[in-house]
Amino acid sequence: MSLRIAICGHVDHGKSTLIGRLLNDCGQVKEDRARKVQSFCENAGRRFEYAFLLDGLAEEQEKGITIDVTEVSWNFQGREFTIIDTPGHREFLKNMVGGASRADAGVLLFDVGSEIQDQFKRHAAMLGLLGISRVIVVLNKMDLVDWSEDVFFAREREILEFFASASMPRPVILPAAAWMGANLIHQAAEMPWYRGPTLAQLCADIPPPKTLGSMALRIPLQGSYVRGGKEIFVGRVEAGSLKVGDPLVFLPSGKKSVVASLEIFGEPGRRSAEAGESIGFTLGEPLALKRGELGCGEAAPALLARQLRADIFWLAKEKLEKGATYQLRCGTKEVGATVSSVTELFDSSGCLARVNLQLSEPIGIDHFASCESTGRFILSKEGQALGGGRILAPEAGAILWMTGLSGAGKSTLAEALEKRLQSQGLRTKILDGDVLRTGLCRGLGFSDADRSENVRRTAEVAKLFAESGMVTIVALISPFAADRDNARLIAGKEKFLEIFVDCPLSQCEKRDPKGLYKKVRKGEISHFTGIHSRYDAPGAPDLHLRTDKLSIDAAVQEILGLFSPDEGLEC
């Protein structure tokens, strides 16, 4: 498929002119369109305006600006490109972002004779936010500064400094004069001091977008159709591949089944489909699945999230405000999303921000860094998009405090959770009560005072781990509410999530994984929580898990949903 390049930059820095000239110099302009522009320009008594080859609206030609996005095909050295011309005006930013959102690479135009303005920075930041890491900066209108090497290098240094300060990947920078075609296809004779590649050559050298086939399967469901008595589910494979016989799990429902057949009209007997294909499939057992479910390979499912931490772009006239609720769409799933906090503004006009969102119900998501198409979302109102964003990975450094009776499943959950977090590249540490009592807390007994001290020490250690950026999972009975409150205080600035691992006493006793209940009944142990000693069930835990009703997988999913998007504390 063609490589898609968005041309961005401030108004009047020469975007449409550059594209028109590029096509013209490659002989890729249709004669009748060129003739139309030529006769118009002759009548108006002006030089041939390459920009009009793209700016087709009457208002655009009359005002000499680009209002909306145009896409054109361009071929160079046997490679196909789609060039996306985007508008530079602040008021048309929404059109620019829409166009750039479909790009693989970006060309940022900059009038070499002007100062670096907000709009340039904004466009650069937008490209960064959209995940476009390959950026070519064209310092245009070199003819107006007498092809000066000094002007070019001074401006280049400023731009490199700006990109570095914004933690954006270093762009390639070249000098050009677009309307004359200088350094577009042909090396400009006027600038013998520049020996680097031309713009066309730089474009030709961009590596193809990475293939998504080797990733874990993600297929957001668009719907289903009954044909010939079979229910066919439809969607596009966004990542990975899908094969007959593959076990799938769907989020948020958690339903599981196996792919029974692939349904692609006109291609009976297909056994597998790759990323990018719009397909249909049937399942081994009939499941009621609605549009919005995210199909995943069972071995590596997406995350189930109820809160999101995200970097967003905001394009509406109304301000993005804390407490406001919008419609969020990720994949094909739509839910309500309330802005619980706006933590950072990257842009003076408020169009780029880091936010925390609280969702009306859990949905299947990925972090943008691990899967782009299921790691991004749009926010809308009245059916219209107002902004969009990408989902950030959890910030490392947190305490997940699991409290509950002996045998409720704390250690089991902690281990399963650790595995999942580590698979996401996070560093983790489990602090297990039984283990601590053999070392750090050796010598403490089971009196109320010793129990409090046991919790206090554990909290202090957990804090140290969290501070060093580890996700610290505490599996500790911690029976008294006052001690747990104290642990939260000790955690201080570190994130602290209380998870009530709840299971009826009778069930815990039946499980009795360490044989403790048996010993209690024989009278070998005293001060046992739930039997001799009280357990204060948490009044308002961050998460309440009924382990007698949930599978381990489902419980882990719930914790990830609470935890992965990182927030929930400062809202």
């Binding site: 498929m1 063609s2 249709k30 004669e31 009748d32 369109r33 139309k36 118009f40 793209l54 087709g56 609206l57 009457a58 208002e59 209002i67 909306d68 996005v69 145009t70 896409e71 054109v72 095909s73 196909e80 929404k94 059109n95 972002v97 829409g98 959102s101 479909r102 668009q222 719907g223 159709y225 044909r227 066919i232 439809v234 969607g235 596009r236 349904e263 009209f265 006109g266 990018g276 294909e277 719009s278 249909g280 549009r291 394009l315 769409r329 198409s373 991004r376 979302f377 749009i378 809308s380 009245e382 059916g383 219209q384 998009a385 107002l386 969009g388």
Partner: protein
């Protein structure tokens, strides 16, 4: 002359096909969709894609806006395929304007507005369709180059091209965005004329004979008989049409008279609700 698409062309067609099928299926969120079919190559490809997207049973009506000036061969083709593909074919005509004598002699833009735009608007109002698929392509003509995949029209079917709503990635707006109007949905907006023909060859899609050269001339774009001209061409097979398109410098709609009626003819027509 090659009779097969190159691997790169195949990869491109596969990606375009997948995107179009995705769009068609996304549109099923809308209440009451319908598809416009002019029997031209583009809308025939769109119809073919809809048959693929919905496994041979298109779950909405297929509409022909009949100006009564269509080339007779087109009508024969329409009725034959509608039967073969089991289409819910609906035909709409502005009979009042026809009765009053409307034709291209009254003015090309006036004629298009009455017999196509008005006929479409009346039809939408009468049947309350909320989403209409049309087979426009962005490389056809400048104002179509500015279109969105999902493009809302107000209750007067007007296009607010100066103030289009944002669209990111492929998360398209819902029916709320078109309010009491309707949504135009453009499943093949990003296809080029060459893509269309490469796909016709790959899929063996039946097309009108008018596209193939007779006596040194062929239709490159097909509309109403009075306003559609032929181009000089010896291309009399799909293969030779493809070879011709690879080298031509002539625009596709050069033979469409309404485009030449005014410098911004299509923009004006389309703002008022034309396809």
């Amino acid at each position: 002359m090659s009779h097969f698409n190159s691997p790169r062309e195949e990869a491109r067609l596969k990606a375009l096909e997948s995107e179009s099928i995705y769009i068609l299926r996304e549109a099923m969120k809308f209440p009451r969709p319908a598809m416009l079919w002019s029997m031209g190559k583009d809308s025939s490809v769109m119809l073919w894609l809809a048959r693929k997207a919905f496994f041979g049973e298109i779950p909405f009506p297929v509409v022909h806006i009949d100006t009564s000036f269509k080339i007779p061969e087109m009508i024969e083709f329409r009725d034959r395929k509608a039967k073969e593909w089991n289409l819910d074919l609906q035909i709409s005509q502005n009979s009042a304007a026809l009765k009053a004598g409307m034709s291209s002699a009254c003015g090309k833009l006036e004629c298009c507005t009455a017999l196509k735009t008005q006929a479409l608007k009346d039809f939408l109002a009468e049947k309350n369709y909320k989403a209409i698929f049309t087979a426009i392509r962005s490389d056809e003509e400048a104002s179509r180059g500015k279109e969105r995949i999902f493009s809302p029209r107000n209750s007067q079917a007007q296009w607010a091209y100066e103030e289009q709503i944002p669209q990111f990635w492929d998360m398209y707006p819902s029916d709320k965005a078109s309010g009491d109007g309707h949504m135009r949905i453009h499943p093949i907006l990003r296809w080029t004329e060459l893509d269309i023909w490469l796909y016709i060859r790959r899929e063996q899609i039946p097309v009108l004979d008018l596209y193939f050269s007779k006596n040194g001339e062929r239709y490159r774009s097909v509309g109403c008989a009075p306003c559609t001209g032929t181009v000089r061409s010896s291309a009399n097979t799909i293969d030779s049409v493809i070879e011709e398109l690879r080298v031509t410098k002539v625009g596709e709609r050069a033979g469409r008279a309404q485009d030449q009626a005014d410098r911004y003819a299509m923009q004006k027509l389309r703002k008022a609700g034309y396809m």
